[in-house]
């Protein structure tokens, strides 16, 4: 069990940079997730940690050991790093039985025959594979193959696990179950784990900390709560959370000694506790963000639009089991609100209110969060 440190890592393919100057510290025993859309450099980073890819620049440390450094000309081969990797296509050896697949890393390390049998059996029991040890991979289901790949990774007790989209090829139901199993297993084994996914739900549910990457650049590193409640920029805010956060372009104006966000269709006062942070932005274009669950339907009021409330037309109502998603529209502004129940019908107007303390405000020029 070791920590993983990445310093100034850069890797370029041709002219496109897969990773640009990445710096990262992964703590001992942590479940760390690289999250981002495909082609953002997540897997490249993982391969650099495994030693399967040499970066153009930068260093990789496993605990106190420097394993990759182009500047100091250090490169420890993947065979000598105590790192196990699991691939998206599982990469289990098609000509070997389940037993031999799991035993392979032990065999090439020259472990005792009896020790191999003992550890493979224990691993198979842990993963519920004991009945399948004599089968060949083509006789297994997707979920079973996934567990064989996992077994091969954990059997040799590595210091770091690297998992590249391990759940991507499973069906939805199995994915949810495996997610929990995997998290539990990681807790039990306590092995530092680096996990790559493009699925924000996976990342949010499993990770101790998440790094959001885009185009080889780190957008934000933080716990799931931090990313959800305090996204550093528009990209992270939009990438995390389902349904997506609502974004509206607006201008900051000063009126009657108060700051207001003017989105043309509606105007909302800036909460006084955050006003000081915004003072310098008066007259500038901003982006306001609010999550669907922070919008409420106001029911008790009849007649004219209330203060802070926005009268909008219901476009679509999506029932999602425990709650409803209201797709709302007014002029060029459209929002999604998550509500418990509603009496409104499609085409009707409703009054929508928001929790101002849950509001996110981004600078339109830099896309960075102001609050």
């Amino acid at each position: 069990m070791v920590s993983v440190a990445i310093r100034n890592l850069t890797k370029t393919y041709g002219t496109t940079a897969a990773i640009k100057d990445l710096n990262l510290e992964i703590k001992d025993g942590e479940f760390f997730i690289f999250l981002g859309p495909s082609g953002c450099g997540k897997t490249t980073t993982l391969l650099c940690i495994a030693g399967l890819l040499k970066p153009d620049k930068g260093e990789v440390w496993l605990g106190n050991e420097l394993v990759t450094s182009s500047e100091r000309d250090v490169y420890v081969t993947p065979q000598k790093r105590e790192v196990a990797m699991m691939f998206q296509d599982y990469a289990i050896y098609p000509h070997m039985t389940v037993f031999n697949n799991i035993a392979f890393p032990l065999e090439v390390r020259g472990e005792d025959k009896s020790e191999i049998v003992k550890r493979v059996t224990a691993t198979a029991n842990l993963l519920g594979l004991s009945q399948l040890l004599d089968r060949k991979p083509r006789q297994l289901s997707g979920g079973q193959r996934q567990r064989v790949a996992l077994g091969r990774a954990i059997v040799r007790k590595p210091k770091v696990f690297l998992l590249d989209e391990p759940l991507a090829n499973l069906d939805a139901k199995l994915r949810v179950k495996t997610r929990t199993d995997l998290k539990k297993l990681q807790r039990e084994l306590g092995v530092t784990t680096v996990y790559v996914t493009h699925d924000q739900v996976e990342a949010m549910t499993m990770a101790d900390r998440i790094m959001v990457q885009r185009d080889g650049v780190t957008e934000q590193i933080g716990t799931p709560e931090e990313l959800y409640n305090h996204p550093a920029n528009v990209f992270v805010a939009g990438f995390i959370g389902s349904p997506e956060m609502n974004f509206t372009d607006c201008t900051l104006i000063e009126e009657g000694a108060r700051l207001w966000l003017d989105a043309r269709e509606f105007k909302t006062p800036v909460p006084t506790q955050v006003a000081p942070k915004l003072e310098s932005y008066v007259g500038e274009d901003l982006i306001m963000g609010i999550r669907p669950e922070d919008l409420y339907e106001r029911k008790s009021v009849k007649g004219s639009t209330q203060k802070n409330a926005l009268r909008m037309t219901v476009d679509i109502i999506e029932p999602v089991g425990p709650y409803l998603l209201l797709h709302l529209r007014k002029g060029r502004c459209s929002l999604v609100a998550r509500v418990k129940n509603t009496t409104a019908r499609v085409g009707q107007e409703v009054d929508i209110e928001m929790d101002p303390s849950k509001m996110h405000i981004f600078d339109k020029k830099t896309a960075k969060a102001i609050i």
């Binding site: 495994a50 990797m85 691939f87 296509d89 392979f104 090439v108």
Partner: protein, 274 residues
Amino acid sequence: MRFPKPRRVTLYILLVFFAFLFLLPLWTCITTSFKPVHDVIYTTPVELPLSPTAEPLITALNIMQRPLLNSFTFTISAMILSCLLGSINGYILTKIRFRGSDTVFLFFSIGIFIPYQAVLVPLVLTMSKLGLFNHIEGLILTHTAYGIPITTLLFRNFYGVIPNSLIMAAKTDGAGTWTIYRRIVLPLSLLPFVVAAVFQFTSIWNDFLFGVALARGSEAQPASVALANLRGTTEFQWNVQMAGTLWYALPVLVIFFVLGKYLMRGYMAGAVKG
């Protein structure tokens, strides 16, 4: 493809006709091999022998015995060596790679297109210098070297289909380059090995030019050269020649019958890959 009935019938008639046409030489070869000299003169080659005899086959085998053994020795040795080396080359060129590996592959590809005739003189000189002229070892070396480009190409195409993640997984599992080849790549190579082996066996077995240039008239003379010498100098012994041809063709025929199925699959695999 389903044809309407009359077209299907025409198709079958055509196919049977062409099959018959292509099998005719083999048929005459078989009939003539069982004819005494008298029958060869008084019957057409297509007709069955009047008084069948195994005499020509025995005569031909007596003459061809040693050359056939020679051919077996160098064909099988060179076949195994060129397949093995081609497989290793293909593995290195696709899965390990190194600076300039594409250039190296280009040179291998060029090797396929060098005509035999172009290298004959330097080849004979080199073999004499090495002391391998008129030796089986010389033929093994030559055929192995000449087989490597085509087997390399074949294995390279096949290994392109093996997912890289398999190799990467083996690396993180702790296996070195050679262990990965032996434990992962080689066991997955049955199909290309069959294809390459059949291809190499037939082309080496059928070769005449290298045999005649490197070992004519010697102890190491291959069957193809011995067969040509069966023609004799004063009279044409058609029946013995045909019997010799039959002996000579037999191994290749057997191989095609036994492994033809795999061969088609192998060619297809290569074709789809492109």
